[in-house]
Amino acid sequence: MKRAFFIITLITIISGLYSYSILEKETGNFIGNLDPHSTAMGSAVGAGGFRLLDSMVNPANLTSLENGFGFQGTGGFLIDSDNRSLPMYNSFDAYSGDAVYASNVNTFADFAGGIYYKRAISDFELAASLQYRPQVSFKANYFEQVRNNWNSNDNGYPLKIAQNSIESKGGINAFAYQTAFKYKNIGSLGLEVAQLTGDSEMESSVIWTPEAQDIMNDTLNDTINTLEREFSGFRFKVGMNFHLSPRFDLSLSIAPDMKLDVTGDKDGVDVETAVFVYTKFDSMGTALDSLTYAQYIFPMNARIGFSYKPRNIMRTVMNCDVEYIKWSDTNPLYEDAINCFIGVEHILKNSIPFRFGFNYTTSYGLHEDSGFVFVNEITTPTFTAGTGFTFLEKFTFDISLEYSNRQYETLDLFMDNYYWRDGEYEDLWNLHYDENGNIDSPIIQDRGWENPDTVNETFINLKSAISFTW
């Protein structure tokens, strides 16, 4: 929907759920890192993890923890600001910029935790941990109103025509068991086995307003699309750290691709047969292959990184990771991507750490228009900073702030002709006519890729954690 001068939409939603962008409402948002210590350092933690949840990135990081028993609990609070705009045109009908038509702001909270035990035996150090954490989030919210451009109902047109929303809930959680050992000061090897379970529910709806129903004599039918799925499966990850010198550590971690078992239905159709997206066409445009909603795959992921500890008047650590994600595992339309992470920790006076970092990651958006599938590659740069302190001797508190912004083009979430129905619903609109009696405005038609939306999303993510070692 949204044609320049007849629709106005809203606004601001505050929800109490952990959520991401509706861009990933079907595929979910893969959660890469939960520890605020390393998050503050750009999530570059392959080789320099000193908190329990850093082993999520590389299980070998477990051996960097202090001997004994310990735990970590972490909580995240995130604000996602989603501004959707449509293209504007100048008097030459040339695109000249975008105007925001809908703003959504969602806030979220999330939690994870784990325990570990580590001890030294002869030349070996052995560690094991149990963690419970979110692995994928499907939670996303979107809300917009379809309005006439008339400011009252006195003229017989409904002020508000319909209310559109997308509500997506659920996630895949991991119950992970990790073990790692370190030999002398040479290197360490870690393994993670994670049991993944979860569910997701998504509802996309267009609800006509009572005012619109009045005009149309209650003939308008609401549309509600649903997708409900349950997920289960396992995922493995192997990680290695090589202690090349007191100043330099190298790491490598690999997680093979893993297909989850998925049950559920899409609008009453079993997800095994409900097509999510067509992925292959012949020259006549006939679909040859497709992905169903039941095909849910974690892509193969390999990460190499280093940690450098130079001599510096402030104790300093610099971490740098490069991650390869084989996105083509999940969807043949995607290309594999390389993500980069870099972070620094300086210990300032009075042992106060100052951490900052940067990363850029690649994700994909899928759009279907008239039987054709479009794939958007979207890069997201993220700026991070954070600090922490120790209290009661054995407790450590870390806090981090991430700021990301991404911009991409996408198709209208709810196409305009739905509210016009090729003229069938013209009574809903405040129309203008030219001298020949033809409708001059608004011209209500779907916007395809010729006139896509521009989405500007900003994520502010505040994470904090308490760690304890006994």
Binding site: A4, F5, I8, S85, P87, M88, Y89, N90, S91, F92, D93, A94, Y95, S96, G97, D98, A99, V100, Y101, S103, N149, P246, Y308, K309, P310, R311, N312, I313, M314, R315, T316, M318, I338, I342, V344, H346, L348, S351, F354, F356, G357, F358, Y360, N376, E377, I378, T379, P381, F383, Y403, Q407, Y408, E409, H432, S441, E450, N451, T454, N456, T458
Partner: protein, 865 residues
């Protein structure tokens, strides 16, 4: 004797006691644990402090270790000693000492374009001041010809400069000249530095396209196909989905063995292009730049200094009239101070792409002679038009000129986009001119010969011939307009300033027939008389005249004089460039770049292909102009300095428009920590004709207050007020936009705007610096340049604000990281224009949020090893 014996015994006793103490800078972890009355943790912390923080300079540093309290320190005091110990090698130490200079060079890299690398090499491995040639010393930053002559005059009489203090005593050398030079040279003994160096640099920058470039891409390519749908991909911006263009990334690696063997490689993926990960070895070398070079003194029948470079190289001679191959244009490039040019041959891994030279170059200096030969063979991007009128842009078509493209779309991509636009455009608006990648094979042979009869004086000759595999032809008369301009409705926008286009170089002419080359020759000179240096260059582009005859071809002339006193300098530059002196490698002093005010700049919306706007946007050649420029600096008093004042009076050749521009910067420093700066700029274009409607006047005043706090922290507060008086825009105020067609009274338009900014620099210590800034403006049509730490930003539009944070971290002695985040938001004037254009017709629109937001991250990592 007894006394002597007693002292000897005492010394031995002290030594023996001292020897018994544990030296914290050499003690092992095991010794710390076993030989001192401290816990194992404390021993480990002391060891870690030494390993990860710093060697001990004082025993009191132990208190910086968390586990060492005062009681433990008192306990350790009699048991430990601190020896002078530093593991850093001399190179690392030197880098440590001059880090602030390296940082300063890095911050001005954008202006110097590749030169900072050369200067940094000499900072680390300085050169012997007593063995340098004139041009070698002059190539160091901020040295004047008079400083160089002062040094060489001493060396020539057998004297040698033995120290910085001695250097300062050289008659005629300026305080700033000597001070700037001191770290780039050595006097007696070469510092004991390493021989082999590697420098790696990575830059990630996701700054958006500049406003001018963005507007170019946004302009519709099918605007005259009335009734065509309003779709986003009618423009290059929409067609290529440039909103989602990737950030630019640069990777650069340099290697140097002493100052003799040098090699470098750069691969830059500008905004919107394929990242390095997707490159293969072929594209890496085709699109990357690289060089290997050798420089050395050779004792071969006397003293010879030889430089040989293969790969990409920079060639700069004289005042840049004949040859200075860079893509970047900077106005008022005087060749002095911060606007210096490094003359001669150097390896080139700058971001220059279009005017890069690739081949081999030899620079040979012997006694008072210098000879340079260079060969280059490279493909260049060019503007191609459908000269054979077959409806396609193919290899048989003529070339209009070189073009430095903002986004180097591939030829296939451009072709597909043009086909798409043509489908809508209708017959009369088909794309008939467009840039093409690597459309032109350019083979250059060039040389420079210089003879110096005595110190400070030389005469040089430079020339090059560029051979092409395609013809440059600038159509004549209306044919040119028909090719460049989309619709004859806009033919009346073709103005006299477009002479710069009609006077572009053609290889085919009625005067000289058909040729496949361009030749430019010239000579330059310099002489130093007392405290004045006079220099200049004259060049000709061969057209229908004779190569050896002066005055029968399009020419360019620049003469300058520089007079230097202790607290004062005076610089005067006279230049005169012919309109048809179209030398693509011309980079000398000018007020504006070529094609300023032509249809390439002003008529983007009316061009057949909006991408031609890049001819102006990225033009590196100076505009054809004639004028005189004065510049001075004077320190009235230690508290009051005229930091820079200049006056330029010039005439643009294309339309004889005269302009004057003056700027004065004054600094008042009542105490060292407090500085007040005032800057005023005044510019009038067409000052000679009060009645001319094209007259415009701009004034800008800036007040700045700076206070230096402890630990080099700095707080800066500034205010800028700009005022522009310009001619009325008939196209906005009335239609049609034709002279005399105004249907309402016209008046001059006054716009004024202001900006306030605040920035704060906090040094946590010498290795960590954070700079935060905030600025807001109400430009109201005016615009401001704002210097943001290490880069310039251009702020205009209606109202806006920005804030940025830059973290400079010195990770280790040889690893530097800089991370900048900027958020900028401003209102566009789109609403007003929409209102003017009566869109929507009812005057009702709901899109109040038409501001633009920019989130910019800039990351730079330097690793020197």
């Amino acid at each position: 004797m007894k006394k002597l014996l007693f002292i000897s015994l005492l010394i031995m006793l002290i030594i023996s006691i001292a020897k018994a103490k544990i030296d914290l800078n050499t003690v092992t972890l095991h010794e710390l644990k076993t030989q001192l009355p401290i816990t194992e943790k404390q021993a480990g912390d002391i060891y870690d402090y030494r390993f990860y923080n710093s060697f001990f300079q004082s025993i009191y540093q132990l208190r910086e270790i968390k586990s060492i309290d005062q009681k433990t320190l008192n306990l350790l005091k009699p048991l430990v000693s601190i020896s002078h110990f530093d593991e850093k090698d001399e190179s690392a130490k030197r880098r440590d000492d001059i880090y602030y200079l390296i940082e300063r060079l890095g911050s001005s890299e954008g202006l110097q374009e590749g030169m900072s690398d050369i200067w940094e090499d000499y900072l680390i491995s300085p050169r012997n001041i007593n063995k340098l040639a004139f041009s070698d010393i002059l190539n160091f930053p901020n040295t004047s010809p008079l400083d160089v002559a002062a040094i060489l005059n001493r060396v020539a009489v057998g004297d040698s400069i033995s120290s910085y203090r001695d250097l300062r005593k050289s008659p005629g050398i300026s305080y700033y000249g000597a001070k700037n030079l001191q770290h780039y040279v050595y006097y007696k003994e070469q510092p004991d530095v390493r021989d082999l160096y590697f420098d790696y640099q990575m830059k990630y920058n996701d700054s958006p396209y500049g406003d001018t470039e963005k507007e170019m891409y946004l302009e519709s390519m099918i605007r005259y196909a009335y009734g065509s749908p309003a779709i986003k991909n009618k423009s290059y911006w929409g067609y290529f989905n440039m909103e989602s263009d990737r950030a630019s990334m640069m990777n650069k690696l340099r290697m140097r063995y002493k100052n003799q063997f040098k090699a470098g490689f750069i691969y830059e993926t500008p905004k919107g292009s394929t990242p390095i990960f997707d490159s293969n070895s072929k594209t890496l070398f085709e699109d990357g730049k690289y060089y290997v070079g050798y420089e050395n003194n050779l004792e071969l029948l006397g003293d010879n200094f030889i430089k040989v470079y293969a790969g990409n190289f920079r060639a700069t001679f004289g005042e840049g009239l004949v040859m200075e191959n860079t893509d970047s244009y900077s106005p008022r490039k005087t060749g002095y101070g911060f606007n210096k040019r490094i003359t001669g041959i150097i390896g080139d891994i700058s971001r220059t792409q279009e005017y890069a030279l690739r081949g081999i170059a030899l620079d040979w200096k012997r006694n008072n002679m210098n000879a340079v030969f260079f060969l280059s063979s490279d493909k260049k991007d060019a503007v191609v038009y459908d000269s054979n009128e077959n409806g396609e842009l193919d290899d048989d078509d003529y070339i209009l000129g070189y073009i430095n493209m903002t986004n180097r779309f591939s030829n296939d991509e451009l072709g597909e986009a043009e086909t798409f636009f043509n489908e809508y455009a209708g017959n009369q608006n088909q794309v008939r001119i467009a840039p093409r990648l690597d459309a032109l094979q350019e083979d250059i042979i060039g040389s420079h010969f210089e003879y110096s009869p005595f110190i400070g004086t030389h005469i040089g000759f430079t020339g090059y011939e560029a051979r092409y595999d395609r013809e440059f032809v600038v159509p004549e008369g209306d044919e040119l307009k028909e090719i460049l301009i989309a619709d004859d409705y806009h033919f009346n926008k073709w103005k006299i300033t477009d002479n710069e286009i009609t006077n572009m170089y053609s290889t085919i002419s009625d005067d000289y027939g058909d040729r496949d080359y361009r030749r430019v020759v010239g000579f330059d000179w310099r002489t130093v008389l007392n405290n004045t240096s006079i220099q200049g260059e004259y060049a000709e582009l061969e057209k229908d005249g004779s190569l050896g005859k002066i005055g029968d071809d399009p020419s360019a002339l620049l003469i300058s004089s520089y007079t230097q006193y202790d607290n004062l300098y005076l610089l005067t530059i006279y230049r005169d460039y012919d309109l048809d002196f179209d030398n693509p490698y011309h980079r000398s002093f000018s007020e504006s770049e070529r094609y300023d005010d032509t249809v390439f700049e002003k008529l983007t919306y009316g061009l057949n292909n909006t991408l031609l706007n890049d001819m102006y946007n990225n033009s590196a050649q100076p505009s054809a102009e004639k004028g005189v420029y004065f510049e001075t600096r004077y320190q009235f008093h230690t508290m009051l300095t005229l930091t820079k004042a200049y006056l330029d009076i010039w005439e643009r050749k294309s339309d004889a428009r005269r302009g004057v521009r003056a700027e004065v910067k004054l600094e008042f420093k009542p105490i060292h920590q407090l500085r007040f700066r005032i800057r005023h700029k005044h510019q009038v274009k067409r000052y000679d004709d009060e009645m001319e409607r094209g007259k415009s006047q701009a004034d800008e005043t800036e007040l700045k207050f700076i206070t230096y706090l402890s630990n080099y922290d700095k707080l800066q507060l500034g205010y800028i007020y700009a005022r522009v008086l310009q001619p009325p825009y008939l196209s906005i105020l009335s239609n049609p936009a034709e002279p005399g067609a105004a249907d309402m009274a016209q008046a001059q338009t006054l716009t004024d705007g202001d900006m306030i900014y605040l920035d704060y620099t906090h040094n946590f210590n010498k290795n960590l610096k954070v700079i935060g800034a905030f600025a807001m403006w109400y430009a109201n049509g005016a615009s401001f340049w704002d210097f943001e730490d290490i880069e310039l930003d251009f702020d205009h539009s209606d109202r806006g604000f920005k804030t940025w944070l830059n973290i400079h971290s010195r990770i280790a002695n040889n690893v530097y990281l800089s991370l900048k985040y900027k958020y900028k938001q401003f209102l566009t004037r789109e609403l007003e224009f929409r209102d003017y254009n009566e869109i929507p017709e009812e005057g009702e629109y709901y899109f109040q949020r038409v501001e633009r937001e920019e989130n910019i991250v800039r990351l730079q990592l330097d690793w020197k090893f």
